[in-house]
């Protein structure tokens, strides 16, 4: 306890609260690393939220629900991939359309699920480990999705950094013409990266509707997808920094609510503003470090590729 705030509860809450944006941001990072800017994260998240909720309540299995959420997100991302990679539509406009489409379609599918209670996602039981003071509740008191999300971040980092597949993905994102000349299938790589991004966004959405809230409400992502996009920029396209960014963005929200509940009069607006301010500062510092502009962004980000070019 520090000043009436239970730090242990705060950290445990923060880990659970940041899971949706952590997943969505990690997925978006992979998509952007392959050179595609998908602004439809919000739409994919909410489709994951409604898809996951529908399947979980129908089957009574949260695991199937999460799978369905991932599939729903990936399907929407595939639609985006078809439009932007095959029909070469503008990525920004298509991404925005995807968000609006996802919000509308999810509201339609979600009719009838309002007020329904989803099956409970149980917390993992680590036996005596959960009783360790401090570390117990922080590290061993969560449901499996929290751990899965951390494993996914680690795996994404490792694959991007150490494997041939990661190298190809990054090559496609940096210079798709060169990658194409080397014989890599740029469009196929981007399809896969987008689908992965969509699946993670859908998983994040399903976590929102199945664990964090837990219920289905129209428009329930309420901007989480946009925060995920901000986190990718904040993280300067590095998976390990996505983790820091997600914990910071969600942590500040959790912290300010707990401070209020503990009776502190705090300037909420200043705290809410802080992550965005820090994002701007990070961008300024990055571009100051790299004299020739922000080198952190994949060079081909947002550019359409066609083999004829």
């Amino acid at each position: 306890m520090i000043g009436g705030i239970d730090i242990i509860v705060l950290i445990a809450t923060l880990m659970a609260a940041s899971t949706p944006v952590l997943l969505a941001a990690t997925g978006e990072l992979v998509a952007e690393k392959s050179g595609v800017l998908n602004l439809g994260v919000e739409g994919m998240m909410i489709m994951g939220a409604v898809g996951g909720f529908a399947v979980a309540t129908a089957t009574g299995s949260p695991v199937l629900g999460f799978l369905a959420g991932a599939v729903a997100g990936a399907l929407l991302a595939t639609l985006f991939a078809i439009l932007t990679q095959i029909f070469l539509s503008n990525q920004v406009a298509t991404g925005l359309a995807l968000t609006l489409f996802g919000l509308g379609l999810s509201a339609l599918i979600g009719k009838g699920y309002e007020g329904v209670r989803p099956p409970q996602t149980t917390k993992l039981d680590f036996g005596p480990l959960g009783d360790i003071p401090v570390l117990g509740p922080v590290l061993f008191g969560h449901d499996w999705v929290v751990y899965a999300s951390l494993v996914l971040v680690g795996a994404t980092w490792a694959v991007l950094k150490f494997t041939r597949a990661g190298l190809i993905l990054r090559a496609v994102g940096e210079n798709h013409d060169a990658a194409h000349a080397l014989g890599y299938r740029v469009v196929a790589v981007r399809f896969a990266a987008l689908a992965y991004g969509g699946a993670l966004a859908g998983l994040g959405g399903a976590y929102l509707s199945l664990v964090r809230v837990p219920q289905w409400t129209e428009g329930m992502t309420a901007g989480a997808g946009w925060i995920a996009l901000a986190i990718v920029v904040f993280a300067s396209w590095k998976p390990e920094r996505v983790l820091i960014g997600a914990y910071m963005f969600s942590g500040i929200t959790a912290l300010q609510l707990q401070l209020q509940a503990a009776g502190y009069a705090i300037p909420v607006h200043l705290l809410s503003m802080a992550p965005y301010l820090i994002t701007i500062i990070v961008l300024v510092v990055l571009s100051a470090l790299h004299r020739h502009g922000v080198a952190a962004a994949p060079a081909a980000l947002g550019r359409s590729f066609h083999a004829s070019n």
């Binding site: 919000l103 009719k111 929102l208 809230v213 129209e218 959790a254 209020q260 509940a261």
Partner: protein
């Protein structure tokens, strides 16, 4: 779809016009609505939409209604209102406090369009205001909460520190304190009307602080779901009955019933008698309804709450009756004096005993 839903009826009407079909009767009255959240929030915006449906049911093809949902408070509201006015709506309901300045600006540009603004305090020749005395419902919730709390801690999820919300917190606290002198009120401001994840987090933070009664002045049912998960926490339906969560955690509710008011105002438009006025309805006029008190509430507490409701409805009792002091200890209402409506409409202070500070 979500942000700009238009009813199929609007589309059909537009088609009919485009096809050059002569209007058989007089042109229908076009009525527009903007909502701050989605229609499916099952709370505030849902209730307003029930009112809109009541208009359609009452007047049939004499009216055409249109709505826009999830319109953010701020500049975008002005755009949405302008769009509705340009589309030929002659009566427009703006259903959130934060639309106030947007309504005033747009109303000045369209003197022939009538506007109705919910919960605000600015009016004009063509801008009427309407509000419900939610604090009457809060007094009943405070009584039930004060009786039922075991930890003596009541949590309150506020949206924005505006008079409408402050009245509710004060009324709930005064009446909880009346039946349980040890009661303590913890207030968390979410600074949003609708964000299920944040509302759930706010509820979780309050529960972590030992609260076992949660009242909300935000629009989604997320705090109800969070309380249900906790098991031993009671809540109250907000704006809508939220009966999906009865009997536990939702033990009662305050229901905003806008339908009679909307039907009356549209009727006034149709017969030409509409004029700008300020309406503030309560339990007596049916604008505020108290949802069924569930079986989780002991019989004697239920009887006490219902007795209070009857006294408020008959006008025998006013939830803000002196002696009452402000939070800083200064006198507010002398013994037996009732607060006046105008004073309540601008309420910007907590009453004595609430320890949280009211953000400025």
């Amino acid at each position: 779809m979500n942000r700009r839903s238009f009813l199929a009826t609007t589309a059909i009407a537009a088609l009919a016009t485009a096809a050059g079909l002569p209007a058989l009767a007089a042109d229908p009255l076009k009525v527009g609505f903007i909502y701050v959240g989605p229609v499916g929030d099952m709370g505030w915006s849902y209730q307003h939409d029930q009112g809109r449906r009541a208009i359609e049911a009452e007047y049939g093809d004499k009216v055409v209604t249109t709505f826009m949902e999830s319109v953010p408070e701020g500049p975008d509201a002005e755009r949405a209102l302008t769009q509705l006015a340009l589309e030929g709506n002659t009566l427009i309901f703006a259903t959130s406090f934060g639309y106030m300045d947007a309504v005033m600006n747009v109303a000045a540009k369209f003197p022939n369009v009538k506007f109705e603004h919910a919960t605000g305090y600015k009016s004009a020749e063509n801008v009427a205001t309407y509000d419900a005395k939610f604090f009457q419902g809060r007094a009943i919730q405070g009584t039930i909460g004060g009786r039922m709390t075991k930890s003596n801690k009541i949590g309150y999820i506020g949206s924005f520190p505006i008079p409408e919300v402050v009245q509710g917190i004060n009324a709930a606290y005064i009446h909880a304190k009346k039946v349980n002198p040890d009661v303590e009120m913890k207030v968390v401001w979410a600074y949003t009307w609708f964000d299920p994840a944040k509302e759930a987090d706010a509820a979780a933070a309050l529960i972590a602080e030992g609260v076992d009664v949660i009242m909300q002045h935000t629009d989604s049912t997320a705090p109800q779901a969070k309380a249900q998960e906790a098991g031993n926490v009671i809540t109250f339906g907000q704006a809508s009955d939220m009966s999906a969560f009865a009997p536990m955690p939702r033990v009662s509710s305050t229901i905003d019933n806008w339908a009679p008011y909307y039907v009356k105002r549209v009727g006034a438009m149709l017969d030409g008698s509409w004029k700008s006025e300020a309406t503030w309805g309560g339990i007596d006029t049916g604008m505020v309804e108290i949802g069924e008190i569930s079986s989780a509430v002991p019989e004697e507490v239920k009887a006490e709450a219902l007795a209070l409701k009857d006294k408020i409805a008959s006008g025998e009792y006013h939830p803000f009756t002196g002696p009452l002091h402000k939070q800083d200890g200064s006198a507010w209402l002398a013994d037996g004096v009732q607060a006046e409506d105008g004073e309540l409409a601008g309420m910007n202070f907590f009453v004595e005993g609430i320890t949280s500070e009211l953000p400025k």
